[in-house]
């Protein structure tokens, strides 16, 4: 999808903004004042690198492969790219990364993606259909269960906002938020999902007991459009904001400094 925000004077004139650019810029702004961020590859890489150049110069990116404080010479293609290791501040084993860093409570924001999300921020990355004989077998948790259980809060970036992905009932709950853990008598640590950034806008959630609500839409997107694209009866905040379009400066940094080879800016 390509979104062309209206010419408000803040966006480079005549520049169309791709969905990847829009999501990366909006996610980067949400990282203001955050320090330790657990990120995968793709849009979170762009968001965290842009945040380092703008709103969060002190950001420390921790990768699932065990790399802390990476200083890559090239934009990494995977979470295990050799360029993440050379020059990094630390490389940890899996027991240290998952046990001490994540479970020990050192991560401020964890980034996750999902095939399906529900109103409480529970996530499915295992199957579409029945687990025993699925229509589509997806990769599964990876470390997502631990990122949700251990991070202070979780941001979810979803390219597609439609009723199949934003669903009343998950086909399978791989990664539960704190509400589901509490219902089972297991004490959760963090707030679960607090932000969902999509091609239509931003959903937010305070923490335990709260459900996702629409807080902002991109220019030109109506609240009704978001309601129609969401598979549950969407809660909407009193005053829905308009997401300020990416500025010329943000786009220049993203295109020229963060991803000049357009590895992820497709």
């Amino acid at each position: 999808m390509t979104t062309t925000p209206p010419d408000t004077g803040t966006t480079a004139p005549g520049t169309s903004v791709t969905s990847s650019e829009l999501l990366s810029v909006v996610a980067s702004r949400e990282l203001a004042a955050r320090r330790a961020v657990f990120a995968g590859i793709g849009l979170p890489t762009l968001a965290t690198e842009l945040a380092r150049l703008t709103v969060a110069p002190e950001i420390e990116v921790v990768y699932e492969s065990g790399v802390c404080g990476a200083h890559p010479s090239h934009l990494p293609e995977t979470i295990a790219d050799a360029v993440l290791i050379s020059g990094a501040e630390a490389v940890l084993s899996m027991p240290a990364l998952f046990g001490y860093v994540l479970q020990g409570g050192h991560i401020d924001v964890g980034f996750l993606g999902a095939a399906q999300i529900d109103r409480w921020g529970n996530l499915n990355t295992s199957v579409i259909g029945d687990w025993e004989r699925p229509e589509v077998r997806l990769p599964g948790s990876g470390g997502a269960v631990e990122v949700m259980a251990g991070s202070r809060e979780v941001f979810v970036v979803m390219r597609r906002h439609n009723p199949r992905s934003f669903t009343e009932f998950l086909d399978f709950c791989t990664t539960p938020g704190p509400d589901r853990a509490l219902a089972e008598g297991i004490r959760p640590r963090g707030a679960g999902v607090t932000r969902v950034i999509t091609e239509l806008g931003v959903l937010a959630r305070e923490g335990v007991g709260d459900q996702l609500r629409l807080v902002a839409t991109h220019p030109g997107v109506t609240v009704d459009q978001v309601r129609a694209a969401t598979g549950w009866e969407l809660a909407v905040t009193d005053r829905v904001a308009t997401v300020p379009p990416p500025t010329a400066a943000e786009l220049r940094l993203l295109r020229e400094d963060v991803d000049p080879g357009r590895v992820y800016l497709r």
């Binding site: 590859i41 793709g42 699932e64 492969s65 065990g66 790399v67 293609e77 995977t78 979470i79 295990a80 790219d81 050799a82 290791i85 050379s86 020059g87 490389v91 084993s93 899996m94 027991p95 998952f98 046990g99 994540l102 479970q103 529970n122 295992s126 687990w131 025993e132 004989r133 699925p134 229509e135 589509v136 077998r137 990769p139 599964g140 948790s141 990876g142 470390g143 997502a144 269960v145 631990e146 259980a149 251990g150 998950l170 399978f172 709950c173 791989t174 990664t175 539960p176 938020g177 704190p178 509400d179 589901r180 853990a181 509490l182 219902a183 089972e184 008598g185 297991i186 004490r187 959760p188």
Partner: protein, 318 residues
């Protein structure tokens, strides 16, 4: 399970063919570790060449080599926390087996990454279980009955005893890992992403370490902190340069990202996948032949430049 060390309490240098023939048996539980770095691909290919059957494969990130072993009919059960082709797409054979039992079913035990790490930690320490703050509210325990809860005998922060999930130990019959270098007895040094290799080796009854090169004892002993797997935990040392392709060996060769992308297409078509196995696995005598077949020009494309660490000073008594 008791460890049955070799008499010498250390590994023996042998060929990949000998190591697989000696330690990987039909019906065995085999752990292959290496978190996208140092993936023991060459060992997987030799298991395919020797026609092993009915294996239970334990691997956190089941990726291309696992898809190939499944396609070759070696695997009946998979224990894993991520079944995907890295970030490059799908594993065609694995998906056909799980989605349609085509051409045969595959038993799958699904975990999260830390669940797998804790299984190795319990296995390495011969503990009955290992607790972790995951799975509360997840549907995973509903499909994996080995994810269970215990009540802590100690009061939690609120004074009440807390319930916590636990995972059982895993003690593979054999663990196979790839590393940059070892001495002839198996003191193994690896750097870069070190994953869960040491835990997987200590959890196993037997361990095969595949290395880019065997180095003199003095090289290893100049930097003992880099030895993550000591010789006493190793049964076989196999020298197999470029044995981690298409993954990478930090400081030796880079990742073959093009092959990761290609695998999604190759594996999508069962006939094309079989043809690939015929040409590149059954059609090569060993990994050296596979390396030769790829050609020097290909390997030049994966060459890496130098980035040396500053030497550390261990000191010596005057």
């Amino acid at each position: 399970m008791e460890r049955t060390d070799t008499a010498a309490g250390a590994g023996v240098v042998m060929s990949m063919r000998e190591a697989v023939a000696s330690f990987v048996h039909d019906g065995a539980t085999v752990s292959l570790e290496g978190f996208t770095h140092l993936v023991p691909t060459a060992a997987g290919h030799e298991i395919i060449r020797q026609g092993r059957r009915d294996l239970t494969v334990v691997r956190m990130t089941a990726d291309i080599v696992v898809d190939q072993m499944i396609a070759a009919g070696c695997v009946s059960r998979l224990v894993s926390s991520f079944v995907g082709n890295s970030s490059a797409g799908s594993l065609g054979e694995l998906r056909r087996r799980i989605e349609r039992a085509d051409p045969a079913p595959l038993a799958f035990e699904e975990y999260s990454h830390y669940g797998m790490v804790c299984r190795y930690l319990a296995g390495a320490q011969r503990l009955p279980f290992y607790p972790l703050r995951s799975y509360g509210g997840s549907d995973l325990p509903g499909v994996n009955s080995d994810l269970r809860t215990v009540t802590s005998p100690y009061p939690g922060p609120d004074g009440e005893p807390e319930r916590i999930y636990v995972v059982p130990p895993v003690n593979p019959d054999v663990t196979i890992v790839h590393a940059q270098r070892a001495d002839r007895r198996g003191n193994t040094q690896l750097w870069g992403l070190t994953g869960v290799q040491a835990e997987a080796v200590y959890a196993a009854d037997k361990a095969i370490v595949v290395v880019e090169e065997v180095v003199a004892d003095a090289v290893v002993r100049s930097d003992p902190n880099r030895t993550l797997i000591p010789a006493h935990a190793v049964d076989a040392v196999v020298v197999c340069p470029r044995g981690a392709h298409p993954s990478f060996a930090q400081g030796y060769y880079d990742r073959d990202n093009a092959f990761y992308r290609a695998w999604s297409h190759i594996s999508k078509d069962p006939e094309r996948l079989r043809e690939w196995l015929r040409e590149w696995v059954y059609g090569t005598e060993d990994h050296a032949a596979y390396v030769d077949k790829l050609g020097e020009e290909f390997w030049a494309g994966l060459a890496v430049g130098e980035a040396l660490s500053e030497p550390v000073d261990y000191g010596r008594r005057l």
